[in-house]
Amino acid sequence: MKPTMPSRVTALSAAAVLLALAGCSSGGDSGGDSAGKKTEIKLYNDKGAWSKYFYEMGTLSKREIGLGVKPVGYTDEPSYTAFIKASFRTKVKPDLFTWTTGGRLREIVKQNQVADTSAIWQEAVGSGDLPRSLQDYYTIDGKQYCVPLNTAYWGMFYNKKIFAEHRLKPPTTWAELMRVADTLKSKGQVPFHHTTPTSLFSFVWFGQLLAGTDPDLYERLNTGKASYTDPGVVKVMERWKGLIEGGYFSEPGDKADPADHFKSGKAAMVMSGTWFNTSMTQRGLKQGTDYGFFFVPNVEPSLPKTSLIFESGPLCSLRKAPDPEASTRFLKWWITPKAQETWANSRGDVSGNPKVKAADPELGAITKEAASDRYRLALRYFEAAPAPVLTAVLDGLSGFLVKPGTYMKVLQDIQKANDQYWKTQGSGS
C-alpha cells in the first residue's frame, strides 16, 4: 500500500524523535580494543595548559600498563565543576578527573560518587611511595579517596637579576623581607606582584599572612571555630591594607599574567605555589639563574615553626566509572616512582612521592627543606575553607584589593556567609 502524505510526515517525525533520543542516550566512549578492554582513558581536568604533560604521561602509561591517556582540559573552573557534577547524574562519566581536596572532595564523597582508594594508599604508604602525612588530606571518615595529582609548597619566587642589582639576599625573617621590600621600593622597583581582583587567587596573601601570624587561628577559622571578625583576623587585614597603601604591590587590576609580570621585572617577587615553575619553564626562565624561591618567613617571629602553605590536588575516579578496573590500574601506576619522576620533572614541580629525585637541585632542596621539622604545614586556604565561605571570601577580597579601607565591611560580609554555612553543619563560630 502506498503511504499517504500524513503517514509519511508522522514517520519522519518519529524518526527525528528517535534520532534525538538515540543522541541523548549514547554515553561517552573511550578507546577500547577488540575484546572491549580499554586501551585509552579520558582524563578530565581543569588544567587546560597542562595538556602537553598529560599526553607525555599517556605515552609512558601506554608503554608500561597498556593504557593511553586522552586529556580533556578545561580552562574555566565553573564550567568544569558543573560538568563533573552533572556527570554524576548522566551516562557520560569521566574515567578519571581532577578535583580539589578539603570541603569540595568531602562534598562529592558524601554523595557516594567517588571510588574508594584505601587499598592503593595502604600499599603505597607501606612501600614508601606516598607519605603518611599526605594521607590525612585524602581521608574522609576513615577511608581514602583519589590519589595526589600534584603537590605544591607555597612561597616567594624572586627575580635573581633584580636582587643582584640591588645587592639583596633572600630573607629569613619577616623584618628582613620588609627591609628587602623597602630597598626595592626606594629604588622605584615594585616589590610584590598582586593578584588581579577578578582572579581566583585573591586569597593568597590573606592565607599567608594569617598562617604566618597565628596558625592556630587559621585552622580554627577554617573549621568554623573562629569568626572572621576575630581581632586576630582584623589585625591581619590591617597589615595587608598597610602594605597595599604603602605601595608594596603592583596595581590591582593589572591583567597581565603573573608569570609575564615577573619575567618583565614589573614586580620583583611573586607569591605562588611551586607549580609556578611550570609557567617559568614555559617562558624560558631557569631556576637558579633567572629566578629563585624562598619560603615566606612568619610575620610573628615567636612562633616555634614556620607556617608553610601546602596544597595537593587529587586525581579521582568515580565509583561508577566506565571501566573501574582500568581507572584503578591507572591510579596505582600514577603514584609509582617512574610515573611521578616523569610527571614532576617535566613540569619542574615537586612530587607527592618522596622517592622521586628532582632533576632540578634547587627544587630538590625545597622538597627536603619542607619535609624538615622546622615547618608546620597549613593546607592552602582555597582547599581549607568550605566552598560557600570561599566564594564569599573571594568576592569580598577582590573588593578589598581595590578599596582596602573597606576591610571591616568585607570581614562582616564574609562572617555572614560563614555563620550561614556552619549553622547548617551543626557548628558555629
Binding site: 517525525s13 565553573p78 587590576g253 560557600p388 578589598f400 581595590v402
Partner: protein, 315 residues
C-alpha cells in the same frame, strides 16, 4: 463537553465569524496546506524539549535549595524573598538598569545620528566603514582587548596622560558603577555600527514621494527629519530599540570577560549574578530564581514596549 465545543463555529466565505478574514487556500499563505502541522512538529518538539522543558525545570528549581548534588529540597518562595534582601541583587539591578538605559540610548542614538549624517552624501559608505568594523569582533574578543586597554596604567590611561586630559590615573574597571559605565561605552563602540547600518537600510527604503512633497512645501533640515523622515522610520526604530532592550537586559559576555562581575560584585548584571550563583556558588535554587525574574522582566518589558509601539491589530 462544553457548549463551546459542541456548537459549530459560524463560517463565512472569508474564513468565519468575527475573526480576521483568513487567506484562501492555494495562495501560498498556508504553506503545505493541511500537512503543515506534520512538517512543523519536529521543530516544535525540539524547541519544546530543549527550551520549554528546561524552563519549567528552572521554575521548579527556583523553589528549591539545591547545590547540584543529590536531590533538590522544596523551599517554596524562600529564594524569591531572599532576592529582596540581598544587597548584591540591588547592585545587580542598578547595573542592569544602567545597561538598559545606556545601550538603548547610546548605540541606537549615535547609530541613527551617523546614519543620518552620512546618508545621501558623496562617499558616505567610507565614512560609515570605521563605525562598522568593530562589529566584526566577538563579544569575548571585545572584552579581552578592552580589558587590557582599560586596566590600571593601561593604554587608556597612557593616552589620556599623554594628551594631558583628566582620567590619566583612573582605574576604569575597579570601582562601581564607573566600571559599568566604562563597559557601556565599550559596548557602544561595537554596537553603533550595526544600528547605523539598520538605519541606513531604513533610510533607503522609505518612499521618496512624501519627502519630495515636504521639500516642495519648504521643509528641510531638522524639520524635515522630525516631521517626515522620523515618522516614516518608526517601524524600523521600534525593532532596533526592541532588540537593544532585550540585549541589554541579558548582558553577560562582555561583563564576564572584562570584570567577572567584580571587583567585589560591583559590576554584576542580573545575567552575571544568575551565572555566578548557579555555577560559581553552586546555589542552583537561588540562581534559578534570578533566571525566572530575568526572564519575566525581559518578557514583560519587551511586550510592554512592543505593545506601546505597535497598533493592537498589528501585534
Amino acid at each position: 463537553m462544553s457548549a463551546h465545543e459542541t456548537l459549530p463555529r459560524p463560517r463565512s466565505a472569508a474564513g468565519g465569524g468575527d475573526s480576521p478574514p483568513r487567506a484562501p487556500r492555494g495562495t501560498g499563505f498556508r504553506l503545505f496546506g493541511r500537512f503543515r502541522f506534520g512538517y512543523l512538529s519536529p521543530a516544535v518538539l525540539v524547541v519544546a524539549v530543549l527550551l520549554y522543558l528546561p524552563f519549567l525545570w528552572t521554575v521548579y528549581l527556583s523553589m528549591t535549595r539545591y547545590d547540584g548534588l543529590g536531590s533538590p529540597v522544596f523551599t517554596g518562595l524562600e529564594n524569591y524573598t531572599r532576592l529582596l534582601d540581598d544587597p548584591a541583587m540591588l547592585t545587580s539591578i542598578r547595573n542592569t538598569l544602567l545597561w538598559v538605559l545606556g545601550t538603548t540610548v547610546l548605540p541606537v542614538g549615535l547609530g541613527l545620528l551617523v546614519a543620518v549624517l552620512s546618508y545621501d552624501i558623496r562617499g558616505g559608505g567610507w565614512y560609515r566603514l570605521p563605525f562598522l568594523l568593530p562589529y566584526a569582533m566577538s563579544g569575548a574578543g571585545l572584552g579581552l582587548v578592552w580589558g587590557f586597554i582599560l586596566q590600571p596604567d593601561g593604554v587608556a590611561n597612557k593616552v589620556l596622560g599623554f594628551l594631558g586630559m583628566p582620567g590619566g590615573e583612573t582605574a576604569f574597571l575597579n570601582d562601581g558603577p564607573e566600571n559599568t559605565l566604562a563597559m557601556i561605552v565599550v559596548w557602544t563602540w561595537q554596537q553603533l555600527g550595526v544600528n547605523m547600518l539598520l538605519f541606513v537600510v531604513g533610510l533607503q527604503s522609505i518612499p521618496r514621494a512624501p519627502i519630495e512633497a515636504a521639500r516642495l512645501d519648504g521643509a528641510s533640515g531638522w524639520r524635515l527629519f522630525r516631521h517626515v523622515i522620523w515618522p516614516l522610520m518608526r517601524p524600523l526604530t521600534t525593532v532596533v530599540v526592541g532588540l537593544a532592550l532585550v540585549a541589554s537586559l541579558k548582558t553577560f559576555d562582555i561583563v564576564w570577560v572584562m570584570t567577572q562581575g567584580g571587583p567585589g560584585r560591583t559590576s554584576e548584571t542580573l545575567a552575571v549574578t544568575m551565572y555566578r550563583d548557579v555555577f560559581v556558588a553552586d546555589e542552583y535554587g537561588y540562581g534559578s530564581a534570578i533566571a525566572v525574574l530575568l526572564t519575566t522582566v525581559t518578557g514583560l518589558s519587551s511586550y510592554a514596549y512592543m505593545r506601546r509601539q505597535t497598533r493592537r491589530e498589528d501585534f
